[in-house]
Every structure is written in C-alpha cells, then in structure tokens.
Symmetry: C2
Subunit: 272 residues, 2 copies
C-alpha cells in the first residue's frame, strides 16, 4: 500500500493529542497538521462560522496532498462533519463517532457522561451518536477547562476544584449510575490525571483521541509492527505543521500537547 | 454641534463595558458597536492578525457613518493602535492612554500594577504609556479571568481564588508598595467586586473603561447635563449592534456586559 498522507485539522493545539495517538498507532505515514490558531477557539462560535472555517482547512489540506482527513476537533466534527464530507474528495474521519463507539462499548450500564466545549454540547452530536447505540447520555459543557490547559495549570489545585464542580453536576441528579466519562474535547487528555482523581472511582474514562486513532488504523487496515517502543514508532511518522497565527506560539504551546518538541511550523494565511 | 456618531469596536463583548460608560457620560450620541465575535478572543493572537482584524472593523464602522472611533479593546489598542490610526479617516481613541493617564494620576507612590490578557501584557503598551509618565510598572497576564467572566462566574469562589493567586504574584516581590491596580482588560470591570475583596486594602482600582469614556467626552468637549439619573441618561443614547458570529449569543452574553438588555443585533460577514 502507498504510504498514506493524513491531513489532521483542528482549530488550534488540541488536535495534537489526536496526532500524537495517530503517530503512535500508524507511524508509517506522512502527516499534515493544520491548526487554525488565528481563529481559535471554535468552541464558542456558531455552526455556520465553524463550518466555513473547517471547509477552508479541508481544501488547504487536500491541495497539500492529503489523501485522508482527520477532523481532530470535536467542535468542527460536531458542527460541520456533513459539510466537510461534502467539501472533501477524500475519506474523512471525525472524533465523535469513534469516541461514541468506544464509550458505548465500555459502558455496562449503558449510561455515559460526555464533557466538552459549549458548542460541542449545544450541537448534541455525542448525544445523537450515543442514543443511536441505545445509550443514555448526559452532556455537560465545561468552558473553563480549555483555558486552564492553555494556562498550563494541568495539575493545579484550582483545576481540580473546577473539574470537581463540573463532574459533580454531570454525575448528579439521575446520573450517579453512569459508568463512563467520555472526554469530548481534544484538550482534555492533558487533564486525565486530575479528572481521574475527582471522577467517581467506578467510572471508565474514554478518550476520543485514542479511539479516533484506532478508527483511522482500521480504515487503513493498518497493522502495527510487532512491539516497537513508542519512541521508535514515533520516529517514522513524518509531520508537517501549518498554523494561521504565530508559529513561535505554536511551537511553544504545541509541544505540550504533542508530548514532544515541535520544530518546523509554516505560517498560513487563509486570505480573509 | 452635530450629534456625534461614535463607532465602538471590540473583539467581542468586553467593549460593551466601555460602551456602557460612554452612553452614561455622553448620552446625546449615536453609537455603532462592532463585536468581532467570530474571531474572538484577540488576547491570545499575534499582533499581525489582530491588526488585520482591527483595520477591517475600522473600515466597516466608517462605512456605516461613524465620525469617531473608540477601540474598546485593550488587545487591539495595545497591538494595533498605530495601524488603526493610519487606516482611519476619523479621530481614534484607544483604551490604553486614558487608562494609563488616570492610573498615573491616582498613584501617590508612582507604582502601578496592570493586569490584562496575555497579548496586552506581551505588547507592553501599558508599561510604555506609564513609564512615559514616570511611573514604575508591574504587568501581569491573567488569561483565566476572561473565560471566568464569560462562564458567568463573576462572584464565584473559584474566581476569587484565581484572582488571589494572580494578584499575590502581581503585588509580590518588590511591588508591595504599588498603590494602584489598573484593569487593563474590558472584561475585568465585571470582576470589580471580587478584585476589590482580594486586592491589598490600600490600593485604588482604576478602570480603563471609565477613563476612556471621560477622554472621549473631553475630545468632544461634551458637558454632561445637570444631574440626570443614569437611566435617564442612557435612554438618549441610540445604539446599533453588529456582530460577526451568532446574534442570539451576542444578545444573551452582551446584556451582562452592557448592564441592560440588547435587542437588535445585525449579523455581519467580513468576507473572509
């Protein structure tokens, strides 16, 4: 099979947690990562605006050789998946369906709590995807978690306190028996330690980023080589980065999300 | 004098705290408020990007009849004031100079702490404006305060805790004797109660929004009528609202900043 060229799109840095999982699961690929940092965050914007931005990014990645597209952004997937699929001439994978699939499979009680940005929750994309699988769903918007991650307070006492407030509301009032927490935002994997500490002990935490990487591997019928180390595997993934705002900031902040230093970032002006 | 038509520009909702002060101080005016909500927040973006957006907004407001422009956005003032002045054919007032002027006048020790977004602080616009007035300055970026205001947690214990952390850092280490805190972000007037509670007791809080409204009144040589009530005064200001993202959200969130309900908002597409 031809070495795949996988376009990965996000409003900013969060999608790098998806890229990290992809590069670990499918190292023998080229990746084009597009972060629309000049217009982030998408989480507080309307469906029309997000769809317009996402379609522009889709065209950009196709023009630069992507033969597959991963929408590594919950908001863009939730608000604009159909429009992106119509605009793209290549296969498209979003983060919502893989996340919902894994959450449904992980829940014994068929009762799942989803946390995400305001826009993702308002779209009810996870609600619909999980209800279609017979799962009872509580959605909870957590608009402070993204800024806390971007402030770098991923282990801070304040972050723990805010997470506790959000999760108490989410798991209260009829949802005490939910047994899965689905992280419906690509920033949240950086908060896993804190979330694990404050979430009810019996629940499983499902991460859309991991689930999406697996879904892409299945689509490509990619079989990982026998037990290389994580470092060995990541070496083979060739990644190009594009950002619409400051490349210096992308390098600095992005490294935290990717879990490794980011060197070459190219600035892109989408001609607004 | 001809009734002034004052264009007021911000990345989103924060500038409404400036508009509120303007309408109270200069009620006999027409106001055009432009909130670039599709591309907010500016606080985390680069100078080039912010300048480009700000110049587009300037052209829009002029085309819609503004004969004076207030940049009711600390980030845009800090990063793009000169470019806006060059692009505009009308007088331009930003929030930085009036805020710095009042802070300098209020400080007995000539020692001021400024809090603002990451981009405002990185620009050192307040530092320069205050140093030019012989004032010693400490700048402190507080990136979580805007999301806390937008979450509606203006009186929340978590907001108090985060504000305390930020202010302890700001007033520590050589700045214990600072006697003025300058609110260098238009969202912060909504946090005045909390900030007053956690700030050192001896300090005066200076608000750029109030100072800017006074500066505009002086420029227009406007004298307020003898003691009408705030409600009476506000009735006379005619305000049109324009937003680049959802008008519904603008109405809902904006009312909190303006301190009164917002009815007619027109959606604007800046043709990106």
């Amino acid at each position: 099979m031809r070495r795949p060229s996988i376009g990965v799109f996000d409003s900013g840095f969060g999608g790098l947690t998806v890229l990290k999982e992809l590069a670990a699961v499918i190292p023998a690929a080229d990746y084009l990562y597009f972060g629309d940092t000049a217009r982030l965050p998408y989480g507080s914007k309307s469906a029309e605006t997000v769809a317009r931005y996402a379609v522009e990014a889709t065209h950009f990645l196709q023009q630069h050789g992507a033969n597959m597209l991963v929408i590594a952004c919950n908001t863009a997937t939730a608000l604009a998946f159909d429009k992106i699929v119509r605009a793209a001439q290549i296969p498209v994978v979003g983060v919502v369906e893989p996340g919902a699939e894994r959450a449904a499979a992980s829940s014994k009680n068929q009762k799942v709590v989803v946390i995400g940005t305001e826009a993702t929750v308002a779209s009810h994309a996870y609600l619909k995807a999980l209800q279609a699988r017979g799962v009872d769903v509580r959605e909870k918007a957590c608009p402070l978690l993204v800024p806390l991650v971007e402030e770098g307070w991923t282990e801070h006492a304040v972050t723990e306190q805010i997470s506790r407030i959000y999760l108490q509301e989410a798991f209260g009032d009829g949802f005490q028996s939910a047994d899965v927490l689905l992280l419906g935002c690509t920033h949240y994997p950086l908060l896993k330690t804190v979330v694990r500490r404050v979430a009810p002990a019996h629940i499983a935490i499902v991460d859309s980023a991991e689930a999406t990487a697996q879904a892409v591997a299945e689509l490509l019928k990619f079989k990982p080589p026998p037990t290389p180390s994580a470092d060995e595997r990541r070496q083979f993934a060739r990644i190009k980065f594009f950002a619409t705002d400051s490349v210096e900031k992308f390098r600095r902040l992005g490294g935290r999300f990717l879990g490794q230093p980011i060197e070459d970032v190219q600035h892109v002006d989408l001609k607004e």
